[in-house]
Symmetry: C2
Subunit: 528 residues, 2 copies
């Protein structure tokens, strides 16, 4: 089989349909179903629930989704109130998210998004958005909470002779979409290197209760499934060919704030190893989110004493390849491979090496409570803000406007071994404090948050009562410009009658947020 590498692939977003893809559909039954994207989307009717592939920048259908956005826009332009409910893995590619949101035909979106146009529609009340734990999606859809799934649109990299599907750069909820959808549209993307085959581990052992059995995975590298998706060919109504790249951006170098946060995290790991609470050399499997801070932490691990680390998370980015190549990381499991073009080139050129160090799983497994608890994950996630008692807001700016969503942070935080939240101590050039008296939206409760880290320092609140937590969080994590006001709040709250286990002054609890809404800054003296 011809194995195209990145050097032979078209430039980003360029489409060369049909050139190399013929070899990817090796089953005659499926070849007979090849149609254009425009023909394929005719299977989608107003009112349908449509489940599409995609997790972060990886694996969104490249041609059918834009065609679907067109399909919706044209129908609505002609006076038809055409809407669909849209289910995905997590976010989908930014362009796709924007096109679909602009078409104004998404009635309900689930379970995650991270794009400005979609965010705007949601915050304007024009798009219903259900923001749930990523590990809960598959079981909830299977169970029927979101009704019948009419159409699945799933990107794959190929179809085998026997009619099984070779997954693309993300797995996400694709197994579930293929299992439950009445009609299936496959988009076969020959941009994905053939060499990707075999990187996936698709587990077919999940079930609805009372038929569940233990998931026999005890190490990050264990394979418990098969390399391909099963699909009922009778439900495949269309196959669309494409050859278009994913759209991950190259990582930027960590800034000083991110490096400071990473430094505190690495010091904490060293402290925990010295205390005998983490294994030396290998720690425990790491989960970290996407973004500057997460990348800085991962980059910092290269300079530490660690060898043979493991990662069990949602997304693998370019930085992970370097960690694997230099031996810092032994194995990384995720549900999406969100590599830049340069990253993919590196991956493909050394596929025989990386294949032994990377696996992509369904998000039901990458985020599964059973596995997260068993492996003892060290969960590191970003946040918008934390309050002085350790409650974390990950999703709602000023308590009302959604940013992205909770994603998998709750899956890893609640069931993991160590739960850490990382953020710069201020945002918007210092106008917003990330440490506030009370968060106006709680995504992670005081019962779940163990360590808070900003560039100022690290607050380890394990085993501390709320009154002790507040002092540690303010002293270690708050920006110095906000500390006095936070201390004053706590002092007065503790002195109030009936102060209680968790002292608050309810009339002032949101004073930082109300001041920001009123004046554009949380600072009492903006000239400061």
């Amino acid at each position: 089989m011809h194995a195209p590498t990145l050097s032979s692939a078209p430039s980003k977003a360029e489409t060369v349909a049909g050139v190399a893809s013929a070899g990817r559909i090796r089953n005659e039954n499926f070849r007979r179903k090849i149609v254009s994207a425009e023909e394929a989307v005719r299977y989608i009717r107003s009112g349908d629930t449509v489940a599409i592939s995609g997790f972060a920048s990886a694996g969104t259908p490249k041609r059918v989704t834009p065609a679907l956005a067109d399909h919706i826009r044209r129908a609505r332009a002609s006076g038809d109130d055409f809407t669909i409910n849209l289910l995905t893995g997590a976010s989908v590619s930014a362009e796709t998210e924007r096109l679909l949101a602009e078409a104004d035909g998404i009635a309900l979106r689930m379970p995650y998004q991270a794009e400005p146009t979609a965010r705007g529609r949601i915050n304007d009340g024009r798009m219903d958005y259900v923001d749930i734990h990523l590990s809960h999606v598959a079981q909830q859809v299977w169970e029927g909470y979101y009704g019948h799934v009419d159409v699945a649109v799933v990107e794959v990299s190929g179809i085998t002779e026997s009619g099984e599907l070779i997954p693309a750069t993300s797995v996400g909820n694709n197994k579930t979409w293929l299992d439950v959808a009445e009609k299936i549209v496959l988009e076969v993307n020959s941009w994905i290197p053939d060499a990707m085959s075999g990187v996936h581990d698709i587990y077919y052992g999940t079930a609805l209760p009372p038929h569940r059995t233990p998931i026999q995975l005890t190490d990050v590298e264990d394979r418990i499934g098969q390399e391909t998706f099963r699909v009922d060919p009778a439900r495949v109504v269309a196959v669309v060919e494409t050859e278009v790249s994913d759209s991950a951006n190259p990582l930027t170098a960590p800034d000083a704030t991110s490096q400071a946060i990473a430094g505190h995290v690495l010091d904490f790991f060293a402290h925990e190893v010295a205390a005998g609470r983490l294994p030396a050399d290998t720690l425990l499997p790491l989960q970290s989110g996407i973004g500057n801070v997460a990348n800085a932490v991962l980059a910092g691990l290269s300079d530490g004493p660690y060898r043979g680390l493991t990662c069990y998370s949602e997304v693998i980015q370019d930085g992970m390849l370097e960690l694997i190549a230099n031996g810092t990381v032994r194995y990384a499991s995720s549900t999406a491979l969100a590599l830049s073009e340069a990253g993919l080139d590196e991956f493909v050129r050394n596929i025989d090496f990386y294949r032994n160090h990377i696996v992509l799983r369904p998000q039901e497994i990458s985020n599964h409570p059973e596995i997260v608890r068993r492996l003892g994950i060290i969960a590191m996630n970003g946040m918008l803000e934390a309050d002085i008692y350790g409650n974390v807001n990950s999703t709602h700016v000023m308590g009302t406007r959604i940013m992205n969503g909770i994603g998998g942070s709750g899956d890893f935080t609640r069931n993991g071994y160590l739960s850490m939240f990382l953020s710069p101590s201020t945002a918007r050039n210092g106008a917003i404090s990330s440490i506030v008296p009370m968060v106006p939206h709680v995504d992670h409760t005081e019962h779940d948050v163990q360590v808070i880290v900003t560039e100022q320092g690290l607050a380890d609140v394990r085993g501390l009562s709320p009154r002790r937590r507040s002092r540690v969080v303010i002293e270690r994590c708050a920006h110095p410009d906000f500390r006095a006001e936070l201390h004053d709040y706590v002092d007065r709250a503790e002195a109030a009658p009936g102060a209680g286990q968790t002292p608050h002054l309810l009339g002032e609890a949101f004073s930082f947020h109300e001041r920001f809404t009123r004046t554009g800054t949380m600072r009492a003296n903006p000239e400061q």
Copy 2:
């Protein structure tokens, strides 16, 4: 072996030390360690971390704990600043909790309490209290977050010839306490019927990561452990004999409000069965908390179409025996058997029957995320209040004063199959609404709460965006006297600039609570 039944046992709280207990300590090595409770507590020094048995009313050491309270009180009376850190399973017997709190020598209490004196000390800032998920306790203590455990005090019902321990009426964290404590005091309580032997299943397969393996439990009735605790005899410093009953109160008959809530729950189950989302006849394993509402729901199941139900929860109360006897429940797993004397009498008289239908496990297993997810638990827990978007406050009255603690509600809610919260729509003779604009403390987030039930009705918010949730919660669950004000709040919040995904008016979000603090009622027109 002599098998005392309740009819031969002394009356409640009466102590007849040494009468029947000689036969309970069948190992000579342990018999040589028999001392009085007063002698035993001398092993406890100021600054120690002391872990004691007990879960709800079941299995608290009856003689050593009061002696410990005396020990602390005398030391403090003589000018010594004697304090200990106290770790338990959950709450301990109310009398024990009160004695220890009154002694004023508990520096830190973990992980749960439910008694007025202790609550008062905590809310006054005189006792540090760490309120964590019950499934997290064992691993966190083992890992050393709470420092070295100096002394364990564990009630058992006997010691075998080979030196293993026969558990009492609760298992709780006892396995962990026996594993980690430097010194161990055993209290052998011959009030516990010999017939209890074999009801327990003590699992020895847990470990710290990276050494964890799947827990091979796939049905509520599976036995995966052994009937007794292991103990290192070298660490057992004292054995105290006692013959004192647990102190569970008989259940009271459900009131009209509880029955109305139960009715809505049962209607919901029928609806879910009809929709094919729950198995007919057997549903899925039920978890329910303690109290009037939970009891009403369980009682109501007897009148429904269900046969062969299972329960997987923390505590078995009297009502469960009737459900088992009449075939409604096939099997109940828990970590504590909190029976009244009449209940225990019924249990012992028919022990050969009940032994096949009841098992007691460590709370690490009764609440384990892996098992809760696998079995597909239907979680039903009480709450103090819910907000219009589905966030639940289980612990903090008016956001500051602790009531009891989160207990296991988070273990079952996050990882279970269906998460339901139950409460009367008002408290304090109607002065407090259980549905508020925003809860001032979040124990269960909007991502985790699926169904809210009051006597007014049931709000099924699965798959609903926040703006849809608020209407359903107000209409279905709020007391009619509060609905207009709640609707008005939502209307104005949604109309505000930048209303967002979750509309709120931060300046008014706690208006119900602030009014209560100011006027003693949440009602705008108290004469209403």
